[in-house]
Amino acid sequence: MSEATLYEKSVPGRIGIDLPALDVPEAELPEDLVRADNGLPELSQIQIARHYLKLSQRNYGVDSGFYPLGSCTMKYNPKVNEMIARLPGFAELHPLLPAASVQGSLAVMFNLQECIKEIAGFSAVSLQPSAGAHGELTGLLMMRAYLADHGEHARTQVLIPDSAHGTNPASTSMAGLTVTEIPTDGRGNIDLEALKAACGPDVVGLMLTNPNTLGLFEEQIDQVIELIHGCGGLVYGDGANMNALCGIVRPGDLGFDLMHFNLHKTFGTPHGGGGPGAGPIGASEQLAPYLPGPIASMQQGEVADKAAYRLQMPERSIGRVSTFVGNFGMFVRAYAYILNHGATGLRSNAEHAVLNANYLRTSLKNAFPVPFDRTCMHEFICRGKVGKSPVRAVDISKRLMDHGFHPPTNYFPLIVREALMIEPTETEGKQTLDAFIAAMLQIAQEAENDPDVVLSAPHTVPVRRLDEVKAARKAIFCDPFPDAEFLSRPS
């Protein structure tokens, strides 16, 4: 049964909240600028409470169950961090107060910057970008600015493996640069020969996800980075998969010049139904002056533990990429997360994320082919194909819903046909993984013996399979306007 919309539930004359009476004299309103009707629905508070409670029951989060959505690191989000981000001292703080009034928040920012620098091996970090893709655009603009300052105007090509996430090429275009796609070799690494051939005086740099989107650590990472630096290019790291590396290796030590971090993946901030996240960016010494700002800096005070913090623009900053300081609420959560884990905990996260992924890979590979079958990092790809069955990856995904699981990522990376990208994360225990394995193996059997039950899945969730083609054709993007009167726009 579908749930009526707010507009369908609306009854003229209702309101969901009492508001204070006006206690100042009324000023004259400019009648010619005032609208007759703002078009919002009218509901009582109990309707609103029930509406959103019902909608929440029609939604699946990490707290609902296993959510192995590859590349997204759907780990458990600690409750205490939610509570801390809501402390009035943080949540009610205006971003434009003088530095002296916001020392606590600036301390959080400074300490988080320091932690990320240490974890990833960079000279400086800016917390400005609001997501991973935002960090990518930021990094590419920094690379452009850096190269321009060094008279390197002819460099326009960004090398991107064919396994890369769509945001990498999209960010490249937004930065006014051109993508050169590099193929993947038979072991799932970037093809070194093709890379060599692409390296030249027109290269801005390489955007590399490591571990890559196949869940594999680049076996020739040292040579790859040397090649790029050798031709005068820079190496940008897509840090989406940093959860596998914390305490294992520092990208800065490997020679990455820049890298973003998805706080909503690696550092446990919730994904919020699609966002908000945060995408801080780290830079090597030579690129640090180009970071977006402002950045928190610290001056030692006269009294030993009385440091003073302030906001500062890096020397040759590309500018702002967000208003104010970026998504501060996410900084608090991520900082709390790092304090909670410490160095040992972060390393343990990476180890268990990798252990879990390899356990699933080993347990599923006989039923679902694994195209690049070697020790993986935090995730792996298998094919959603079983023998000659007509069942495809999407069908397996829908059938998993009947078992109470969220499906893996489908059809990404694009280089693997019928890809199922499985990332269990470290916060799932063996029982959950075993239950998932059992479900997958059962679906594999169904695919051969009773494919219809898989092809017609899901059977047990509030709606059955939805028609995406029809959505695009119908083009209904908002509740119909039955009362177009409030729209006085000339046509």
């Binding site: 049964m1 579908s2 507009y7 969901g16 100042v24 600028l33 609208r35 009707d37 703002n38 919002l40 009218e42 509901l43 959103y52 909608l55 929440s56 029951q57 029609r58 939604n59 699946y60 989060g61 009035p88 949540a91 009610e92 205006h94 971003p95 002296a100 916001v102 609001s130 452009r144 769509g166 090429p169 999209a170 006014g176 040292d222 294992i248 994904h271 139904g273 699609g274 966002g275 995408g279 590309i318 990429v321 967000s322 208003t323 104010f324 998504n327 501060f328 304090l339 909670n340 160095a343 905990g345 990798v354 252990l355 356990y359 020790t375 063996k430 709606v463 028609d467 993007f477 908002c478």
Partner: protein, 450 residues
């Protein structure tokens, strides 16, 4: 760690299943000389210790009573109804991600569909996306859209001088990736009307903020026509609370409307996460950026919702996508939806009226003070929620005194963004400020400027 549930026995079993002796062996591909660095990090701390530590840190921020805050300048102190955080606290919502699997995400998809519906009505536009990072990045993307939708020879972006200076900064950063450039206050006078004379065959977009950064409503009548005749697109930067009361940009035939959605039930949170509102006309929907929820049916003919027109997006179109955005601001959009549903038609209008009347009352009280002038450059403009006070002395010192001696956050020192406005204070007044607190502000300003 407490969030890693493995016991020693389970770890052993799992390693045996993998065929591996130790966890370390799983990292054989990582260059040996770089493996397992010793990280110098604080912690680990227990839950109790983190909470104690961060409560202590939060206390290093000054807190004032909400009614004594008159600071706005792009982030506003509005009431957040209790319904909002109640819904945001539902883990089914906040621990989910982008609804790639619609059958498990009908709740969020419907909430976003309803968000889009309410934003369309508020702005008077045909279609709204399901959120962008913040108002400034929404604007930058709107300008990129305009550059793509107009011929390549058009590379000028005319920006009204009343644009929030941080929006202007973000826009300029984004334009580093293009051949386009901003024509703005360096070369223009202080009136939106002056923009018109710069319209020409190089113009791709005209950006006007109304109410502008100084709180004033711009003259929008007839503007779209001029912009369209010149072959450019009109982008209006709006404010969602003002839209409760004033005519929407759609009425003025805007092509794209963007806004910072923070006033809609989203905490100030030292600047973020906030919400980018982005709405446009049907004709531009295939160029629109970000996620879009559409209505459809399941195989049984039941109504349902999915993400749609994904061929605009990076995961399908890659280098030719309309934007790189992936993670957006869904949860703050949900906050805005719950906010709008709660206050509803009459409530939003009431809140806007309270802001209007309270701010006018504040301006009239401050105007009584000898030597202080309200909106000195445009005393006859209509203003909403925010206004400029010429103090006749540096605003920085006055703000400091209001804070130190009266416990009042007096406003924004315009000198921070405009060196020639160092004597000017930007004062924001909302439904949170009582008559008493406004009177206190006026009395304190009298003292502090004496």
């Amino acid at each position: 760690m407490v969030y890693v549930p493995h016991t020693d026995a389970e770890r052993k079993d799992m390693l045996a299943a993998i065929g591996c002796r130790s966890v370390k062996d799983l990292f054989a591909d990582v260059p040996k000389h770089r493996q397992f660095p010793d990280l110098n990090l604080p912690g680990p701390l227990s839950e109790l210790e983190i909470e104690r530590e961060l409560r202590h840190v939060a206390q290093r921020n000054t807190s004032v009573e909400a009614s004594s805050c008159f600071l706005g300048a792009g982030a506003y102190n509005h009431y957040i109804p209790a319904t909002v955080d109640d819904v945001l606290g539902r883990a089914e919502f906040y621990t989910s991600y982008t609804p790639y699997q619609p059958e498990l995400s009908q709740g969020f998809l419907q909430a976003m569909f309803e968000y889009q519906s309410m934003i369309c009505r508020l702005t008077g536009m045909d279609v709204s996306n399901a959120s962008h990072y913040d108002g400034a990045t929404s604007l930058a993307e709107a300008v990129l859209l305009a550059l793509n939708a107009t011929p390549q020879s058009r590379s000028e972006v005319l920006v009204s001088p009343g644009l929030n200076p941080q929006f202007d900064d973000v826009l300029r950063t984004y334009l580093r990736g293009t051949e386009a450039y901003v024509v703005a206050e360096e070369t223009l006078g202080l009136k939106t009307g002056d923009l018109i004379s710069h319209l020409g065959d190089k113009t791709a977009a005209v950006v006007v903020q109304s109410p502008n950064f100084f709180g004033q409503l711009e003259e929008l009548d007839g503007l779209a026509n001029l912009v369209h005749v010149a072959g450019a697109l009109l982008i209006i930067v709006s404010d969602p609370i003002a839209l409760g009361l004033f005519k929407p940009p759609g009425d003025y035939n805007a092509d794209i409307v963007v806004a910072e959605g923070q006033p809609l039930g989203i905490p100030l949170s030292f600047g973020g996460p906030h919400l980018g509102i982005f709405a446009t006309r049907q004709a531009l929907v295939r160029r629109m950026v970000g996620r879009l929820v559409g209505e459809t049916e399941d195989v049984d003919g039941q109504r349902g919702y999915v993400l749609t027109l994904a061929t605009r997006e990076q995961h399908i179109r890659r280098a030719r996508a309309t934007s790189n955005i992936c993670t957006n601001a869904a949860l703050t959009a949900l906050a805005a939806a719950v906010y709008l549903a709660t206050v509803g038609k009459r409530g939003l209008r009431r809140i806007a009226e309270l802001c209007y009347h309270n701010s006018h009352y504040a301006a009239s009280r401050i105007e009584e003070i000898a030597g202080l002038k309200i909106n000195p450059k445009s005393p006859h403009s209509v203003f909403f929620r925010e206004f400029v006070v010429d103090l006749g002395m540096p605003a920085e010192g006055v703000i400091q005194r209001l804070n130190d001696d009266f416990g009042i956050i007096g406003g924004y020192d315009l000198g921070q963004a405009y060196p020639d406005l160092a004597n000017h204070l930007l004062v924001a007044v909302t439904e949170m400020n009582t008559r008493q607190s406004i009177d206190r502000l006026a009395d304190a300003l009298r003292e502090a400027t004496r």
